[in-house]
Symmetry: C2
């Protein structure tokens, strides 16, 4: 079978399974999640073996140590997958929720009912645990899923797919509700993202290159995450103790994450007071600093920032620092160089906090809190399938609700349009 | 200037204007709508003249009478545009609405704030009044807009664009917030739908051919409306008086609209009782009927339906009729042949009404009401920019809210992630 025919077949099966999934009760879906967890727990030895094959070919193919590490299914990671399934089972079911049900002057009653999107395609790279994370969120939200993991994890993913299929069948749900693409042919991705008839949305998880390619070529809607160039702006009216704590936390709590601060903006009038102790603290943590000329006048030990620094996502212990005239300049900098991900102001001034909230065009805008809070768990979504930097459909952390849509429902008693 | 450069320039101006629009107060936006209405009212003579030029070239180019009719700006239609602006001004402003603001265990307070999408591109055909309808909704929702109307209405659209620009300037909003594409070069559409850097969403309004082409080639998200193949299912447990009224209204209230019923489904056990009077009533209205074999056994005067009839949007006094075994067969028919637009069940049975609501995968699902109610005004949206048959972002009638997005907002008191 050609890759084209194979993927179309997968799509058709997923579409078929999606109606059963949409009609499945909360109890059935939760039982499926528990059954999958049980399957994982009972097949640890096979999982380890399959994963061993992947690790072996990875080593033979000269995969980098960091990638080999991501690929490995340690007993602790299997425990995490099982725990993740239980957590998703414990989340409220978003499907069927009815809101805004109101009588209209015509006498009809109109509201909205939350429903699954249908078929979700997930494209990801080496971590095999994403197979379980993504499958569980799609399952709980009543969707059918097609999962395309990295070719270097193919044996692990097949073994996990077997657990999912047996778990689904144990509760009489169709195994086609979660399908793992079995071919490592790269053309499969190109097919998946153009199956507009069978796939409702694509969620890519991986490096920026992968996501840009998918967004460019997709004929299906994509919920995507590009850069995380996050800012903290220390305003004239900031409480400098809060500013110090937030600016330090936003940069140094974790470096390789999308909600870490990459550029610190400081109002000129407080720079001389707040920057020196901050620069000292960053130095203690080993953070490399790159500053604008005003920063370097105060602190000559800081390296010189180039224009490129303002639009770089370091994902590393590197920080750009810029002194700005005022709130207006800070907002202009963020809206120009930022990636519309997460930005925070530190201020005690009511009107400036309001202006920052209204005018910064990012998926998360914060007052007096660290950008590191931009996260599905911290926001109370329970779990996240990703963080969207788009404005259409889902913005910011995407949880179960982002995998659903709302349809209109109308109740009448024989009402006709006059 | 090339079309490419011209459109990129428009896009850049729109993007720039969009931040001013996003920050504009409700009062300023309402004043702009009033000022535009005043401009229209004061320039009736110029509008009539510009429109006369379009009508003249339309006639010279052999435009069909129906299209010439749509193109004409009669005094009554100018009144309607003015009244439309006032109605949009009276609608609540969706921007800045904060919902779900809750404290999290970490101590931060997390909620969502409704914000404009940014730049909306509207592509439409001959009716010049769409220029005002679309511009007013985008303006009220805080977006900048690029409007690309039909080339046959170019003089009318330019004249209307002048009114809009003067109205915006009268309240100190940037004229670039609403731009009308001045070139009739068809390449402009291709450019507009691929300006991903400057345009956030495209709303095409027109025939299915236009919309399919745009959806295929766009690199920007599209809120689109394809078919309206709507169904009414008369269940075994229907109140037959309600069924008669609804089935008649759904088909005959208006024919050329997307929410008119195109196929009537009738449960076998009530077909003999309810079909004959309905067929009589349709006959009185001059509706051409095409039935399945079971329908024709009961009523031999009904023509034979072919398979193609089940998936045809007639937009005309034509109706397909099919007798189905039961609720399950009706749902299967609708999910297979329908267009996920609007479908209704007539029943007094509680459980079947619930099943129909849950399992019919359409943007509007109704119980005991005519499909003709699927409309932004009837649903209380105040106005609609279109009806989406997609599931992503906006589904069904799209009003001001569909032109907005939600960003996350976080309030802390110096909170950092532990």
């Amino acid at each position: 079978m050609s890759v084209k025919a194979y993927m179309a077949d997968l799509g058709q099966r997923a579409r078929q399974a999606s109606s059963t999934m949409a009609a499945a009760t909360t109890e059935t879906k939760n039982n499926a999640l528990a059954a999958i967890a049980e399957q994982l727990d009972n097949t640890r030895e096979q999982l380890r073996q399959a994963n061993g094959e992947d690790l072996e070919s990875g080593r033979a193919n000269g995969l980098e140590p960091a990638l080999l590490d991501r690929l490995e299914l340690t007993p602790a990671r299997i425990d995490d997958m099982i725990e993740g399934l239980r957590q998703v089972a414990a989340l409220p079911d978003p499907c069927g929720e009815v809101t805004d049900l109101r009588y209209r002057p015509s006498g009809i009653q109109v509201g909205k009912m939350r429903v699954p999107l249908g078929v979700v395609g997930i494209i990801y790279e080496s971590r095999p645990n994403v197979t379980i994370d993504a499958a569980s969120l799609c399952l709980k939200s009543g969707n059918a899923t097609i999962l395309r993991g990295g070719s270097e994890a193919i044996n692990s993913n097949r073994a996990i797919a077997g657990c999912i299929a047996r778990g689904l069948e144990a509760v009489n749900l169709p195994a086609d509700a979660v399908q793992v693409v079995e071919t490592t042919d790269r053309a499969a991705v190109g097919e998946l993202i153009t199956l507009a008839e069978y796939v409702d949305v694509i969620v890519p998880r991986g490096g920026k290159g992968l996501i840009e390619r998918i967004a460019r070529d997709a004929r299906v809607s994509v919920i995507k995450h590009l850069d995380g160039i996050c800012h903290v702006y220390i305003d004239d009216a900031a409480d400098l103790a809060k500013a110090h704590a937030i600016a330090l936390n936003a940069k140094t709590h974790r470096y390789g994450v999308c909600n870490a601060m990459e550029t610190l903006l400081v109002a000129a009038s407080v720079a001389a007071e707040c920057l020196p102790p901050l620069v000292q603290a960053y130095g203690d943590k080993g953070v490399e600093l790159r500053g604008c000329s005003a920063t370097r006048e105060l602190l000559p030990q800081v390296a010189e920032a180039t224009a490129a620094d303002w639009s770089t996502e370091y994902l590393a212990p590197v920080l750009a620092i810029r002194v700005v005239a005022d709130l207006e300049a800070a907002i202009a900098h963020i809206n120009r160089y930022g990636s519309r991900h997460t930005d925070a102001i530190v201020t005690e001034d009511y009107s400036r906090a309001r202006r920052f909230l209204a005018e910064v065009d990012s998926s998360s805008v914060m007052v007096n809190a660290s950008t590191r809070f931009a996260d599905g768990f911290e926001y109370g979504l329970g779990a996240e399938i990703g963080i969207s930097t788009d404005k259409i459909h889902a913005r910011g952390p995407v949880g179960l609700e982002g995998l659903t849509s709302q349809k209109w429902i109308v109740f009448g008693d024989g009402h006709i349009r006059q």
